[in-house]
Symmetry: C2
Subunit: 263 residues, 2 copies
């Protein structure tokens, strides 16, 4: 079978699956909550990426999104512009929007930025945590462990992300919190591309020790634990193999993953 014909078959397989995009448009929230439609789209896409339901390279068609969320294309376009500004989505003129595919270099930069930001967050968070914060974080750790035990990868990723973002919240700096939010999103894409198949995203005992240090308000320990935690995360990446997507197949064959895109 020719490569061309093979691609066609794959396209058919992909398109005939009822939910083309693994994004949940929650009609309950949509009708009840006051949020603007474009915020709904942005939030849903970010959630989907954060839980690796949307792998890198996925096309985000305007029609598909406007159908999913029951709004017009103008809103979709604004949402995509917002996502592109966060470097989570790539806008190719006349071709559409695609979930960003981070290069190895970009991956290193993202993790370096995370170290810079989370170090400061750790220093600031020490001594500012309330008992509620500690309780939240400990509960989060058990949640992550449970998700990992049951093979619930999205749940595991969500828990891990929530852990880091909660620390940012404790530190009390909106700016750093937003930067970290973007970086964790991009980290998820990176992990999806470059981390060995079954590897978990965070070693749980590291999170536990971070909470211990936080509870003791041990600023120095908190900083060094956070730093090494991120270094371990980055060390687990493997850039030698070609970037792959979740299921090892469907990606190599996808028509949009052309070589010219490589950065």
């Amino acid at each position: 079978m020719t490569r061309q014909a093979f691609c066609r078959r794959q396209v058919l397989q992909c398109t005939d699956a009822p939910p083309k995009l693994l994004i949940t448009s929650d009609y309950f929230l949509q009708s009840v909550m006051p949020g603007l439609p474009e915020d709904q789209i942005v939030g849903s896409v970010l959630d989907a990426i954060a839980e690796q339901r949307l792998p890198a390279g996925t096309k985000l068609g305007e029609q598909a999104l406007s159908d999913l969320f029951g709004c017009n294309r103008a809103n979709v376009r604004r949402a995509l512009a917002t996502l592109a500004a966060q470097h989570v989505v790539e806008l190719r003129p006349n071709r559409g929007a695609y979930v960003m595919t981070p290069s190895p270099r970009e991956a290193r930069n993202v993790f370096q930025a995370r170290r810079a930001i989370e170090r400061t967050i750790a220093r600031e968070a020490a001594g500012r945590s309330t008992p509620e914060d500690i309780a939240f974080l400990r509960r989060n750790i058990t949640e992550e462990a449970q998700a990992k035990a049951t093979g619930d990868k999205p749940g595991e990723l969500r828990a891990s992300r929530d852990f880091h973002l909660r620390l940012a919240r404790i530190a009390g700096n909106d700016v750093l919190e937003r930067f970290l939010s973007e970086l964790t999103m991009r980290s998820t894409l990176i992990l999806g591309l470059y981390s060995p198949q079954g590897s978990s995203c965070c070693a749980e005992d590291e999170h536990a020790r971070i909470v211990d240090a936080l509870e003791r308000a041990d600023s120095e320990a908190l900083v060094s634990l956070t730093t090494s935690h991120l270094e371990h995360l980055e060390a687990g990446l493997n850039f030698d193999d070609k970037p792959r997507a979740k299921l090892t197949l469907e990606d190599q064959l996808a028509p949009w993953r052309d070589p010219s895109q490589a950065v």
Copy 2:
């Protein structure tokens, strides 16, 4: 004529013209360069903010922008969404887009984030600078001094911003560079609101000493000089008086600066 010089000339030509918004729509670049219209808008607005031609609170009307740049409102809306994603513009539903007015709390967070990021940039930049980089930075310092001497505030701000962004470029991390780009923009808004009238944005000898340390590849000195430089900058802010705009008048009277907006 260099592209930069051309842009500057355009600025002068445009500012004495009727257009209410001090944004230059460079028709030369617009017609020749391949950039999308929305990128033109985003770039021009960012430039205008970076040089304090657009003070905090200025309304960015859709009609005005689409007239200025000769494009349709759809492009303007996308551009505004991009600017809003960078927290440089505030989108108020049904009311329009306004240049962000940072609160004192936001100001502190921005500078804390800058310290976190620029420290890492300093550490990475040490030992990576080329002779061209050093030459650029020394030239930049004299440019800034000259702008300060001639009372060219926009030129001074641009030079100072270019200095910090060049360091980020030297450090070689796109992610940190983009974050810093956003933060310097917001810093300019903050300085416009909270810094005493005549104060200059950066002490020039501090920049000079930073370049010296960079040339010596003295990582430790570079980090500490950068940190203290930012601390001096932040220490020069005055949050006691009410936030004011550049010309002390035109702002107090402006209809859009209502008290309910204060955060």
